[in-house]
Amino acid sequence: MDCPTAMNLLSARIDGEIDRESLIVLDAHVAGCDSCRVMADEFERQDSELRQAFAPRRVAAAAVATRVVCALEPAPLRIARYRWWGVPTAMAAGFLLAVVMLRPWKAPVVASNPPPTAPPVTSRLHTASDLAQRINGALVCGARLEAAQRWEEDIRRCGGECASVLAQHVLTCRASDRAERVWAARILADVAPTSSIPDLIALVGDEDGDVCRYAAEALARLTGRPHCAEPDEWHNDATSSCGTCEQTWHSWWQENKQKFASKS
């Protein structure tokens, strides 16, 4: 076997595309060829680096699929809202109808029925799972932040069920969607339940100092453990604070997760 052929087989071996016979011949060649042995080591190291480099790209591609699938489904229902002219117009129409039907100029009016009332101008209440689904749709489908912000109060009320959706959003969406990520992390700081602890630990290592800080606040609230950095430090020294805190929390979680698993 010559070295160029061996190089093709080394590549095939890394990719799991080599047959048994070729593998035996390759091993025999590499054992006696220094340059191919060096090449084999370098190819393997490079393969590991490439896998590491492409890991975020794979996550991003999966998020593309999620966004497309979400867009295939019917658009999320909008919260019922009345236009400014809707109520006065309805009242005027009701008044005219009443005038035509009751004809006050013909006979004295005897009130027999209570006057019609306008429907309440409030958003309808969501169930927790319905709301979680809507938030998921709004964020994953690329709708704008203000669409999701309209539901902030409801999200805070529903708490845990929405927290996992928010955490997944912060974990998977792009750094360029910073406003959405920080908004979701801020709510998580207040409402995340203990089942979100693994997600929160992952977020403590985030590259965005604000996301780290909110995740750390949530962890401190849920576990009673002190913060591992002061609020200003997250901004001034985000990368090292986040990295150190993530390691600290990760070790702590390995020792304590049993305790939390039994609670939930």
Binding site: S11, E42, Q46, R58, A65, V68, L72
Partner: protein, 189 residues
């Protein structure tokens, strides 16, 4: 044997009104289409947008697909047109970010990074440099390398997708790796 449905079956189900079948196709092809777009436009962010646009365009135009079993090839055609349009509009409008040299970026960040976790920054820097070298490989090698590392695909899958033999895929991947090795050792020196 697996009971995995063929692309053709899923296309027929989607055409019959079952949008979940198209969802399955999306999950099956998203990584490869994103990789293809990344290889063409050399910008990961633009590739995501273009892949999303391709998959949605595919859904809207599904009825025009004459041979459902060739869904992948057809989708690549849509992706290719989307990428060419993007490259044309880009050429008219702006200077690509990749045209900015690494030195300028390093200068502007020098002060901000003085307190960062050095090992983490170095690791990220290595990864960025590796990705930049991948993006600079000649077309055929860049394409096959990106398709391979974006998705868990076999040589046979890649061969069918690119219309070449499995041996050619092996040869291109080997050449791409060898070129990367030379380029990276030159920049690390």
């Amino acid at each position: 044997m697996t009971d995995r449905q063929s692309d053709g079956d899923l296309v027929r189900q989607a055409l019959a009104g079952k949008s979940a079948a198209y969802g399955e196709l999306v999950h099956r092809w998203a990584a490869r289409i994103t990789a293809f777009c990344h290889a063409r436009v050399r910008s990961p962010d633009a590739a995501e947008d273009l892949a999303q646009e391709t998959l949605l365009r595919g859904f809207r135009a599904l009825a025009s697909l004459a041979q459902p079993d060739l869904f992948g090839t057809w989708l690549h055609g849509i992706a290719l047109r989307a990428c060419l349009d993007w490259l044309k509009s880009r050429a008219r409008k702006t200077v690509p970010l990749s045209a900015l040299g690494p030195d300028g970026a390093a200068d502007s960040l020098a002060d901000e990074t003085s307190n960062w976790d050095v090992s983490r920054v170095e690791r990220d820097d290595e990864i960025h440099r590796l990705m930049r070298e991948v993006e600079e490989l000649p077309d055929d090698y860049r394409e096959v390398l990106m398709l391979y590392y974006y998705d868990d695909v076999t040589y046979q899958d890649l061969a069918a997708m690119l219309g070449v033999s499995a041996a050619t895929i092996n040869a291109r991947l080997t050449k791409a790796r060898a070129m990367l090795r030379v380029r990276l050792s030159a920049t690390r020196r």
